[in-house]
Amino acid sequence: MLHAIVLLLVCQLAGETLAHFLSLPLPGPVIGMVLLLAALMLRLPLPQAMGDTADGILRHLSMLFVPAGVGVVQQLDLLGAEGGRLLVVVVLSTVIALAVTALTFTWVAKLVGGTEAPPEEKAE
């Protein structure tokens, strides 16, 4: 458990460092995720509790957005006279983008025989 947490932080720190020095347009933690994925794919010797620790922290991912969300509520006056229309744009645009994304994914998957196709013969 401790080793797994340390590894998560080390990956994040490495990610932040890379993002800073290479001025990448991605946040450090996202680069950290790529680094951890690379370590997993290379089958490096990782802490045994890695899986359980990740599951534990991701099970309550929602909770981690509460402080930032509360910050937003404190700034509602920023919305000003345009608040109602801004909400309309956010809701409609969210619905449109969700539909376009999911429909494209499903159609292309059917076209190329993607996710619904039977698993390909074992590669590794």
Binding site: S62, M63, V73, V89, T101, A109, G114, T115
Partner: protein
């Protein structure tokens, strides 16, 4: 009464109070969500935010005072993002098989998110400041604020619209996908993560781990694609 005031003054000076309030509010919100059979409208993030905000307003607590305690929860967002690599690794075969659908949905979805926001804002005669702040709203908050800075939008407004987009997507994704009769959980999760970043990803993990995995990939990829597309598309979209 004075003893209560003394206790309040003592407790509100330590991070413990607002850290605990944040956790208790979330546990309560999660219980409400579970009691309502995980109905998407009873979004635990939204309920917890409302509970804490009412408490802050009632006790006249400033946000910096609150955040001194809540920052410990906020901090975990970083390690949690790194941890997304684990379910991603577990579902690697499914992800490899879905590479072409994923990349197609990534480009079209990202363009749809940016264009629909900017065009709707122009149609509704929103000011330039609001229109600019809406453009990066589907990328994760850290990236959205970075893009906002580059295109001259107010970062605080960008952050607010980004979080509103996250909560909206987390609420509407399940009913919308059912309406569209889409049963492919990879596609549903990918859409949730692409449009509603971390909050959509959290919702997808509530549904199942495959949806959550694809949401996590979409969150990372769309952060990158939005950062590239917004500066390219804006000059074409703005009147």
């Amino acid at each position: 009464m004075t003893r209560f005031v003394d206790l309040w003054v003592y407790l509100s000076g330590t991070p413990l109070l607002w850290l605990t309030v944040t956790l208790v509010a979330y546990v309560a919100a999660d219980a409400i969500s579970a009691a309502l059979y995980r109905n998407p409208i009873a979004n635990p993030v939204l309920i917890a935010i409302l509970l804490v905000s009412v408490l802050l307003l009632a006790s006249k607590t400033t946000f910096p005072a609150y955040f001194a305690g809540a920052q410990f929860v906020h901090f975990l967002l970083g390690p949690a993002t790194v941890a997304l690599a684990v379910p991603l690794y577990r579902h690697l075969p499914e992800v490899k098989r879905a590479l072409i659908p994923m990349l197609s949905a990534l480009i079209l979805g990202s363009v749809a998110a940016i264009c629909s926001a900017v065009l709707l804002a122009e149609y509704l005669d929103l000011g330039r400041a609001a229109t600019l702040a809406l453009a990066p709203k589907s990328s994760t908050a850290a990236i959205a604020m970075g893009i906002g800075e580059k295109i001259g939008a107010n970062p605080a407004l960008v952050a607010m619209l980004t979080i509103m987009t996250g909560i909206t997507g987390a609420i509407v994704v399940t009913p919308l996908m059912n309406l569209l009769r889409l049963k492919n959980y990879a596609a549903r999760g990918f859409a949730a993560g692409l449009v509603s970043h971390g909050i959509g990803t959290a919702r997808a993990f509530q549904v199942n781990s495959l949806a959550g995995t694809f949401a996590g990939i979409a969150l990372g990829l769309n952060g990158l694609v939005t950062a590239i597309l917004v500066p390219l598309l804006l000059p074409l979209l703005l009147r």
